[in-house]
């Protein structure tokens, strides 16, 4: 950050030019998807409870022992336990990052009703 003049700026030449990459990507995806051929959708069994089925899937419940129509699915209990850990870790990390170190100056950002952030946001967003 030595010299503002030499700082590399996003070279937009009209800042939407990089967006063309997204358009190209869409063209490719659409081309592929429109060429795909689909069979008839299987659909869910009449009267099956989707919510209950999701619940069974989430905890690997043996659906053979459950009465009533159940939509099949694979077991997600491992993913469920993992997501618990992930959320835990995310909180851990986010709180650690957000904590203000003692003696850190420039306070007031949170106490001004978010005004400074809002101004920044408007300024930053071209």
């Amino acid at each position: 950050m030595s010299d503002a003049g030499s700082r590399p700026r996003l070279k937009l030449g009209g800042h939407l030019v990089p967006g063309l990459a997204a358009v190209a990507l869409f063209a490719v995806l659409a081309a592929v998807f429109l060429r795909a051929s689909f069979g008839e959708a299987a659909g869910f069994e009449e009267g099956a409870s989707i919510t209950a089925s999701i619940g069974y899937a989430m905890f690997n419940v043996d659906t053979g022992a459950v009465s009533g129509a159940v939509v099949p699915a694979e077991g997600f209990v491992v993913a469920f336990v993992l997501i618990a850990v992930v959320l835990d870790v995310a909180i851990d990390g986010a709180v650690f990052l957000a904590k203000r170190d003692e003696g850190e100056g420039g306070g007031g950002v949170l106490a001004d009703g978010g005004r400074e952030i809002r101004d920044r946001l408007r300024g930053g967003d071209d």
Partner: protein
């Protein structure tokens, strides 16, 4: 019934709108929102093809993507906060001390 193609093209459109957003916006928070759009495009597919295949694997998994998106945003906001403290800005193109 709506043909499955439509869902795929819809999700591709949402995905690419997300990509478009993060290519053209400099604000870190908008960057995050764009990523959310892309993840939701995946959810559209998952839910739509859950019906197509007649199992709820996709629907269940879409819940997990949402939870993960939340976790990602939590960490993301944390990083954006320290970014703001260091650079006094949330413009992602400001932080360029390291390059080449």
């Amino acid at each position: 019934m709506v043909p499955a193609q439509y869902y795929l093209v819809l999700s591709a459109a949402i995905f690419c709108i997300g990509v478009f957003g993060l290519l053209t916006r400099r604000n870190a928070l908008l960057f995050l929102m764009s990523v959310e759009l892309m993840l939701n495009a995946a959810n559209v597919n998952l839910v739509a093809f859950s019906l197509y295949w007649g199992n709820v694997t996709g629907q269940t998994f879409s819940l997990f993507t949402m939870a993960l998106a939340a976790a990602e945003v939590a960490v993301g906001i944390g990083i954006i906060l320290v970014l703001y403290r260091n650079f006094k800005d949330v413009d992602v193109t400001e932080a360029t001390t390291m390059r080449w």
